[in-house]
Amino acid sequence: MKKMMRLLALLAAFTLFAAACSSSTADSTATGDDDTETTDDGSSDDGGEEEEATEEDGGDDAGDDAGDDAPEEVDAAQGSDLTFHMITHSDDGPFWSVVNRGMDAACSDLGVTCVWVPGNNDANVMVQGIEGAIGEGSDGIAASLPDPAALVPALQGAVEGGVPVVTLNSGANDYQEIGALTHVGQTEFIAGQAAGERFNAAGVTHVLCGQQEQNNVGLTERCGGLEDTFSGTVTTGFMDLDADTTAQQAAINAAMAADDSIDGFLGVGPVITLSGLRAASDLGRDVTVGGFDLTPELLGEIEGGNILFTVDQQQYLQGYLPILQLFLFQTNSNTIGGGLPILTGPGFVDASNAADVLALSEAGTR
C-alpha cells in the first residue's frame, strides 16, 4: 500500500515535472528579476552594463573565472541578463545529456540564463531553433553542425545580426566560414584515426565500422579516419537506429555472419557499440570491440574486459566551454583558441582508467 502511495506520488510529481518542462523557456527568462521586459526590449550591450553596476552579493561561483574581469561581479542568485542558446542535434541520448549537464554547470557557475534546444537529429528543427534564438535577442548561440549545408546560412545570419556564435561537437570544418568565435569539439577524423591505431596495436585484421545514423557527417568521418590509419580491411555500414536496438543488433549480427574474416567492430556511438558486443557474443565470435563515447554500461564492459577501448571526447566540455567563451566574449571581448578549434578529444578510456571514469560517468559528468 505504501509503495502504491509512493508510486502515485511519483506519477503526480512527474506530471508536474513534465508540465514545468514544457514551459521552461518562459520560466528561465523570468528567473532573473522584474526587469524581464527590459531584457527583451533592450539591447544586449545595455544588459552587460547593468550587471557590472549592480551585483556584489553572492559570489560563490564567481571565483571560477579569473577575477580580473567583469564575471567576478556576476552572481547566480541575482542573475545576469545574458541569455545563451545551445542548439544541438541532440536526441537526449546518453551523450547529449552530459553535454546538457556541462551547459547547466557553466550557466550556474557564471550566473547566466541558458536555453537548451535539442534538435533530435532534424536539421530543420535546428534551423528553426537558431532563427528563434536570434528573434528572441539571444546574447550568444552555441550550435552543433551535423548538417553544415543546412545550418551554415542560419548561423551566418546570426553572426551578421551581431549574435556571437560558437560551434560545438561537429563543425570543425565550417566554423570559420560562419565567422564563429571558435569550435569546441573533437575532429572526428582524427578520433577515427586514433581508433585505427588502437586496432592495429591489438592485431585486428578486418574491422566492421557500424553507424547508427545515415546522414551524419561526423559519424562518417569517424569511420573514414579508421580507414585511414587501420592497416587491415574496413567495412562500413549503417546498422539501424539506436531507438531500435533489436534491429540494430540483428543487422550487425547479419553483417558479421556474412563475413568470417571480421574480427573487429568499431561502434561510432555508445549504444551501437553495445549492440555490436551482443551480436558478437551471440555469434560466439571472438571480436575485438571498440567504441565511441561513454555510458556506464559501456564503461562496465570495458572494466570487465569485453570491450577494448572507447574514444572519449569529453563532451561535458562541449557543453561548458562554449558558454564560457560566449560569456567571456560578451563581458570582456575575449576569444579563446587563437582562431583554432578547441579540441576536447580524442581521449581514450580502456581497462587502465575505466574504474575512475565509471564513477564520474555515473555522476553524469563524463
Partner: protein, 659 residues
C-alpha cells in the same frame, strides 16, 4: 479480358455443362452478371471456385507471396541467409515488430491510428524497470517483479483506455490525439529516467525479486548448438518429402473430378512412380557429382509424373476427348514475345563477359547490368508466358499443356543460364534446382489437367479431405523446418556452424498473432472491428457499440506495447529513454505491407505479421548479401510499393470473386 476471350471460355465450358460452370476463371463483374442472368437456377453464392482461386482471394496472400519472394530472393543472393543463425536473427527482429504490427493493424482495421504505440513500448519497459529497480538515492521503487508485471500492465491498459476515451470524447482524429500522447510519453520517459536515476538509460539487475521466475518467460532462449541430434536429417527429410507429397495429393483431390468407381488399374502405375521417387531420393542422397545428381533429378521428374498419373487413373475421371491444340492469335503473340524476351535475357547473359568487373557509372557495374537485364527481360518474358498459359486454359487443357511445356522449357533454359553465371552475378547455384522444380511442377500439373477432368462443381467430400491433407502437409513441412532449425548435428558442430539462439520472443509473437487472428476472424468483437472501420456511422445504427470497440482496440495496442516493453526490458536489462520513439511508423508500414488498408475496414492480423517478417528479412538480408547499406531505403521503398500494388490487385480480385 476481351470479348473474344470470353466467347472462347463459353465454348470450352459448353460441353461440360453443369450448374456450376460459371466462375471458370477469375471472373470479372460484367461476365458474372451476364452468366447469372443466363442461368438463374444456380445459386450464385454457391458458385464453384477452384483451389487456386480460393487461395488467391485470401487477403493475406499478397503478404505470403511477399514473404516467400523476399526470402527466396535473399536466399538466392547471399550464402548466409537461410542458415539457422540468420533465420533466428530476422525472426527475432520480426517478433517485437510483428507483435506491434498485428495490434496496430487491428486498430487500423477499426479505422484509427495510434502514434503513441512506438514510444509506448519503451515507456512500458522503462516504467517496469523503474518499478523494480532497487531503492536508493538514484533508484527505483524496489518492488517485486510479481507486482510490477500486473501494475505496468494495468498502466498500459489505462493509457490505451485514455487514448480511446479521448478520441471518443473530443471527436478529434486519433492521429492528433495519439500524437499528443506520443509527446507526453516521450517526455515522461526522459524526465522520469533523469529525475529518478540521474541517467537517461535505466538498468536493473537479476537480483530483483522474482527475476528467476520471469526471466525465462520473457527472455528464455533455446541455444541450438547445445541440442545435438545426429539423426535429425532423416526426420527432416521424411517430414519434408511426406509433406510435399501430401500437398500434391491434396491439390489433386481438390482439383479433379472423382471417379464413381475407383479403378485398380492405377495402382501399379502409382506404385512405379512412388518407387521411382524413392530411388531418385536414394540416388541423390548417396551419390555426388553433377552427372549422378542430374540423373537422379531426371528419375525424380519422370517418377513424379508417372506417380501422379497413376493416382489419377485410380481416383479421377479421365478426359475422353481432350481436344486438340488451338492456339489463337493472342496466345501466339504472347508466347512469341515471352519466348523472345527470355531468349533476349539469356543472350544478354552470354553477351556480357563474366570476368568484366568494370563500373559503368556509379554504382552500376557490368555484372550489375547483367543481373538487371536477366531479371527484367526474364521477368517480363515469364509474365507474358503465364498470361498466355491463362488464355490457353480458357481454350482447353491441351492448349494449356502446349503453352506450359514451352514455359517449362524456358524456365529450364533460364535455370542453366543462372547456374552458368552464378558466380559473376552473385546468385547461388542452388537457385538452379528451384528453377528445375518450378518447371517440373508446371509441366506435371498441365499433363494432369489434360488427362483428367478438372472439377467445375462443389464436392464437399473431396474438399474436406483435400483441406485435411493440405493442413497436414503444411504442418509436416513446417515441422521439418522447425526440426532443422532447433537441432544441430555433430557434423555441423565440427564445421563450426554459427550458434542460433531462438528466443521465447518468437513464441510470444506467434501466440499473439494467433490470438488476434482468432479474435478478428471468429468473434463478434472481430466483426464489430471491421464494421466500425468500414463505416462507423452505419455500424452504430445497426447496434454496434462503436466507441467501446474502438477503446478496446486502443487497449489492445497499448497491451501489446506492454508486452514488447517487457520483452525489451528482459532482453537488455536496460533501456534508453529514446527506446521505441519513431517506431510507430514501422508498425504502420508493416501492417500496410501485410495488406491492411489505411482507410480502415480491411486487413488481417496474419497479414500484418507477415508484413513484419518481410521488413525484418530485408533488414537482415541486405547485411547478409553485403550490399552497400546506403541503398537500404531504396530497397525498402521498392518493397513497400510492390506490396501495396500487389495487395490492391488482390483486393480487387477478391471483391470481384466473392460477391
Amino acid at each position: 479480358m476481351s470479348e473474344t476471350t470470353m466467347d472462347e471460355g463459353h465454348i470450352s465450358n459448353a460441353d461440360e455443362a453443369g450448374q456450376g460452370h460459371e466462375a471458370t476463371a477469375v471472373a470479372t463483374e460484367s461476365r458474372e452478371t451476364t452468366k447469372s442472368a443466363a442461368a438463374p437456377a444456380a445459386d450464385e453464392r454457391l458458385a464453384y471456385r477452384s483451389i487456386f482461386q480460393r487461395m488467391f482471394v485470401q487477403p493475406e496472400i499478397g503478404a505470403i507471396i511477399g514473404v516467400i519472394g523476399v526470402w527466396t530472393f535473399f536466399w538466392a543472393v547471399s550464402l548466409n541467409f537461410g542458415t539457422a543463425g540468420q533465420t533466428q536473427n530476422w525472426l527475432d527482429t520480426a517478433s517485437t515488430l510483428g507483435i506491434m504490427a498485428v495490434a496496430v493493424s487491428m486498430l487500423m482495421i477499426g479505422g484509427e491510428f495510434d502514434l503513441s504505440s512506438g514510444a509506448n513500448t519503451g515507456a512500458m519497459g522503462i516504467l517496469f524497470i523503474l518499478l523494480i529497480k532497487e531503492v536508493g538515492e538514484l533508484g527505483g521503487l524496489g518492488i517485486s517483479i510479481w507486482f510490477a508485471v500486473p501494475i505496468s500492465f494495468a498502466a498500459a491498459l489505462l493509457i490505451g483506455y485514455l487514448n480511446g476515451k479521448m478520441v471518443e470524447r473530443t471527436a478529434l482524429p486519433s492521429f492528433i490525439v495519439t500524437l499528443a500522447t506520443f509527446f507526453i510519453l516521450r517526455g515522461l520517459k526522459l524526465g522520469m529516467s533523469k529525475l529518478l536515476t540521474g541517467q537517461i538509460s535505466v538498468t536493473f539487475t537479476d537480483e530483483a525479486s522474482g527475476y528467476d521466475f520471469w526471466q525465462p518467460i520473457f527472455a528464455g532462449e533455446w541455444i541450438r548448438n547445445e541440442h545435438i541430434w545426429n539423426s535429425r536429417d532423416i526426420f527432416y527429410l521424411g517430414f519434408a518429402i511426406g509433406g510435399a507429397i501430401l500437398l500434391a495429393l491434396s491439390m489433386c483431390e481438390m482439383h479433379f473430378v472423382r471417379r464413381e468407381t475407383k479403378s485398380a488399374a492405377g495402382f501399379p502405375v502409382l506404385g512405379a512412380g512412388a518407387a521411382g521417387v524413392g530411388v531418385a531420393i536414394f540416388l541423390m542422397h548417396t551419390t555426388d557429382g553433377v552427372n549422378a545428381n542430374a540423373l537422379a533429378a531426371a528419375v525424380l521428374g519422370v517418377s513424379v509424373l508417372v506417380g501422379l498419373i497413376g493416382l489419377g487413373m485410380w481416383r479421377y475421371e479421365p478426359v475422353e476427348s481432350p481436344g486438340g491444340i488451338r492456339l489463337t492469335g493472342k496466345i501466339n503473340m504472347r508466347i512469341a514475345i515471352g519466348v523472345a524476351l527470355v531468349g533476349a535475357a539469356i543472350l544478354a547473359s552470354f553477351a556480357i563477359d563474366s570476368d568484366n568487373a568494370e563500373t559503368l557509372f556509379f554504382p552500376f557495374t557490368v555484372q550489375g547490368l547483367r543481373v538487371v537485364l536477366m531479371m527484367a527481360l526474364g521477368g517480363a518474358g515469364f509474365t507474358l508466358l503465364t498470361w498466355a498459359a491463362n488464355l490457353a486454359l480458357r481454350v482447353n487443357p491441351t492448349t494449356k499443356l502446349a503453352v506450359s511445356t514451352i514455359m517449362a522449357g524456358a524456365i529450364v533454359a533460364f535455370g542453366f543460364v543462372i547456374r552458368a553465371s552464378a558466380e559473376a552475378t552473385k546468385f547461388r547455384t542452388e537457385l538452379f534446382s528451384v528453377f528445375m522444380f518450378a518447371a517440373l511442377g508446371i509441366f506435371v500439373w498441365s499433363v494432369m489437367s489434360v488427362r483428367f477432368k478438372e472439377r467445375r462443381s462443389v464436392d464437399d467430400g473431396a474438399d474436406a479431405l483435400g483441406m485435411k491433407g493440405l493442413g497436414l502437409g503444411i504442418f509436416m513441412l513446417v515441422l521439418a523446418v522447425i526440426l532443422r532449425h532447433l537441432f544441430v548435428t555433430q557434423d555441423e558442430l565440427d564445421a563450426m556452424v554459427n550458434p542460433a539462439r531462438f528466443s521465447v520472443r518468437m513464441l510470444w509473437f506467434f501466440a499473439f498473432t494467433a490470438v488476434m487472428a482468432y479474435l478478428l476472424a471468429r468473434t463478434r468483437f472481430g466483426s464489430w472491428t471491421f464494421a466500425v472501420g468500414g463505416n462507423a456511422q452505419a455500424s452504430r445504427q445497426v447496434g454496434v457499440p462503436a466507441a467501446r470497440t474502438k477503446t478496446q482496440l486502443f487497449m489492445i495496442v497499448s497491451g501489446a506495447a506492454w508486452l514488447v516493453g517487457m520483452l525489451l526490458a528482459f532482453r537488455l536489462s536496460s533501456l534508453q529513454a529514446g527506446a521505441g520513439d519513431g517506431e510507430e511508423f514501422e508498425f504502420i508500414i508493416a501492417a500496410v505491407v501485410g495488406g491492411t488498408l489505411l482507410t480502415g475496414g480491411y486487413g488481417t492480423a496474419i497479414g500484418a505479421s507477415f508484413g513484419a517478417a518481410i521488413m525484418a528479412m530485408s533488414l537482415v538480408g541486405i547485411q547478409s548479401a553485403r550490399w552497400n547499406t546506403d541503398w537500404r531505403f531504396v530497397f525498402l521503398g521498392v518493397i513497400l510499393l510492390l506490396a501495396v500494388i500487389a495487395n490492391r490487385y488482390i483486393r480487387d480480385q477478391a471483391t470481384a470473386t466473392r460477391r
